[in-house]
């Protein structure tokens, strides 16, 4: 690395167990946070906030949720978008039906509602696993979206299930501009990401990983499968639910149940595959990659088509996008199953020895 950790000796257990054991890493993380909280709002344009940064943070949180379930606890889920929908609609209803409830409280309650629903759909995981479970989570995906469309009470009697979110009142101050929304989303994501980072290295996280690696062996060494698996479903759904609430309130402002489609679930799954299954940072890298790739292709493809004089339509762009996604998924699974996060780690280790190869 450009810095070396030589000379940093850990003399206490506390020092050995802290979140970022290397001093330069701590400085790096703090710098990153300062830049994100202070630097970015000073320089980024409004387009950046509303079209890139806010969705990036929201999807990163959803990917984090799925990563807890799939990457750490080993339970494949294809229904994460449905839990986002639960969060979005729950937050809307709490705002609507409880007078003067603070927005953060309704986000938290939305997360808890999603967690409850997640536990319900996680129950089959006690008896089935692997593909069977993946298919079973599709039941959540279709059933929840159907419910949100068909029960008018949930969308306050809107005919097609579309909801327009209420104003974001934060301690008496209304958050209107993209910058303010960005800061709110960023704070929530930072807190939840740190919580996740801590959770996965706690007893709970270790139990999840044991279940992921082999659940029979885990139960033999005394890990109770039922609470462990259900907790993974609950925490994961909580994260997805909060992400969904922010998706509705801070990003789009108006959502419909069909927006939380199977396609979106797949998108979140792709984020964790490309970013790194079983890695907190991977969720962020994957979300950035999956969100930026279409923007990049939109700009790059017509440019190359012009260069070579090929005929080009918007349909072709979308086909190429899908193809590239599919190819990338296979590529990553074959070449680097641990995703971008692992590549980052390898780069760090190479740099640590640099300029000496051995």
């Amino acid at each position: 690395m450009l810095y070396r950790e030589a000379g940093q000796f850990k003399t206490t257990y506390a020092a050995d167990q802290q979140l970022f054991p290397i001093r330069q890493d701590r400085i790096g993380v703090i710098t990153l946070l300062i830049v994100a909280f202070l630097g970015v709002p000073m320089f980024a344009s409004e387009y950046w906030f509303s079209a890139i940064l806010i969705p990036f943070l929201i999807f990163a949180l959803a990917a984090l949720g799925l990563n807890i379930l799939t990457g750490y606890a080993g339970q494949l889920s294809l229904g994460s978008a449905a839990f986002m929908a639960v969060g979005a609609y729950a937050a809307y209803n709490f705002q609507l039906r409880i007078e003067g409830i603070p927005i953060l409280v309704s986000f938290a309650l939305a997360g808890l509602t999603a967690a409850g629903v997640g536990i319900l759909f996680g129950l089959p995981s006690l008896r089935i696993k692997g593909f069977y479970l993946a298919v079973a989570t599709l039941a959540a995906q279709f059933f929840i979206v159907w419910c949100l469309t068909k029960f008018p009470w949930l969308s306050n009697n809107s005919s097609s299930g579309v909801i327009s979110t209420q104003q974001l009142i934060f301690f008496g101050h209304e958050l209107k501009t993209p910058v303010e929304k960005y800061l709110l989303v960023l704070s929530i994501v930072v807190v939840l990401a740190l919580a996740a980072k801590n959770m996965v290295r706690s007893t709970t996280g270790r139990a999840w990983m044991a279940v992921r690696d082999m659940d029979v062996a885990a139960s033999v060494i005394g890990i109770k499968l039922m609470p462990t698996k259900l907790l993974a479903f609950a925490v994961s759904s909580f994260y997805c639910g909060v992400a969904g609430a922010m998706y509705a309130f801070c990003y789009l402002g108006s959502v419909e149940p069909d927006g939380f489609s199977l396609e979106m679930s797949f998108k979140i799954l792709f984020m964790i595959i490309i970013g790194g299954v079983g890695s907190i940072m991977g969720s962020f890298l994957g979300a950035a990659f999956i969100l930026l790739l279409p923007i990049f292709l939109d700009i790059a493809l017509p440019f190359f088509a012009d260069l070579f004089g090929l005929p080009f339509s918007s349909a072709t762009v979308s086909h190429i996008q899908i193809t590239v996604f599919g190819a990338l998924i296979m590529f990553f699974l074959i070449v680097e199953p641990h995703g971008l996060a692992r590549l980052w780690q390898i780069a760090k280790e190479k740099l640590r020895l640099w300029p000496f190869p051995h």
Partner: protein, 304 residues
């Protein structure tokens, strides 16, 4: 009562169509332990190739042969470039790779053959049989009966193929135990290529039936989603399971669509159509809670 039977028979016949797709899944799972999410995309690719070749001027029979060649080549390529490199990875990684494969096909196929919806004429009309309509006052489509016949022939052929041919026996050996099969000299890679070829053939048959029924369009990829609950219900490894599961799912979803919404309307008010979309999944899920390996699936024993 007549109406009930009409719905039931209609459901059973549409279940046959689901079973056609589910068969493709079973083939691959049985022989390689890969849960191939791309089966729906393969159905789409097969139907598109038939239509695409016909648009280039080929007669139907030639188009079918060309499509079969395309599907076989595609299957071999998949085995060579994707699956072979993922040997020894956990099954979930293989599953996710096939999701990637599905996206890949869904992008590439329309780029080659065009994405606009088209009709596929097989020369079978989709209209009620007059004799049944006159005598029993039920609407049963001629097309559905043909589809059922095709499915029956396909299943019989596959069953015979698995049971009595050399390759079929090798396939079963590979399915039982990869290593043991390798050690007695069965070429694993060839077998997998053959399996993907056969799955491509099943996808071709399913694609033609579905394409003739609903037109050849992107929605064909969703046939895979219809086949999944069928699979869970029937068990991943069982050819008869795919058929029985298909019949149960088809019949129950149609009956549910007719009889549940009015009940719910009485309870909650409002319109509750579209139960078909999730009912098979919930049914399969509830069934799994009772019998996790499906109707005909093999009970597996975990070892530490």
């Amino acid at each position: 009562m007549n109406f009930f039977f009409e719905v039931l028979i209609g459901g059973l016949l549409s279940g046959v169509m689901y079973a056609l797709v589910a068969l493709g899944f079973v083939m691959i799972y049985k022989a390689s332990g890969v849960f191939n999410f791309a089966q729906g995309a393969m159905v789409y690719l097969a139907a598109l190739s038939v239509v695409g070749c016909m648009e280039k001027g080929a007669p139907l029979w030639l188009a079918i042969i060309l499509a079969f060649i395309i599907m076989t080549l595609f299957g071999i390529a998949t085995e060579k470039f994707v699956l072979r490199k993922l040997v020894n990875q956990p099954p979930i990684a293989l599953f996710m790779a096939t999701i990637g494969l599905a996206f890949f096909i869904e992008g590439v196929a329309p780029m080659i053959f065009g994405s606009e919806p088209r009709a596929l004429e097989l020369g079978i009309v989709d209209e009620p049989i007059p004799w049944v309509l006159d005598n029993w006052n039920m609407v049963i489509s001629k097309f559905d009966l043909v589809a059922a016949g095709v499915a029956a022939v396909l299943v019989a052929t596959l069953a015979l193929f698995f049971q009595y041919t050399r390759i079929g026996r090798a396939l079963r050996a590979v399915a039982d135990d990869h290593q043991a099969a390798l050690s007695i000299g069965i070429p694993l890679q060839n077998i997998w290529a053959i399996v993907w070829g056969v799955a491509g053939f099943v996808a071709l048959v399913a694609g033609m039936m579905w394409g003739a029924r609903n037109g050849v369009q992107f929605a064909l990829t969703f046939t895979a989603l219809k086949a999944l609950p069928v699979l869970i219900l029937g068990g991943f490894t069982s050819v008869p399971g795919a058929i029985v599961g298909g019949l149960i799912i088809g019949a129950s979803e149609k009956l549910a669509e007719i009889y549940i919404p009015p009940v719910m309307q009485d309870l909650f008010g409002g319109n509750f159509g579209g139960i078909e979309g999730w009912f098979p999944y919930v049914l399969a899920l509830l069934f799994l809670l009772v019998r996790p390996e499906g109707l005909f699936g093999e009970r597996h024993i975990d070892r530490v």
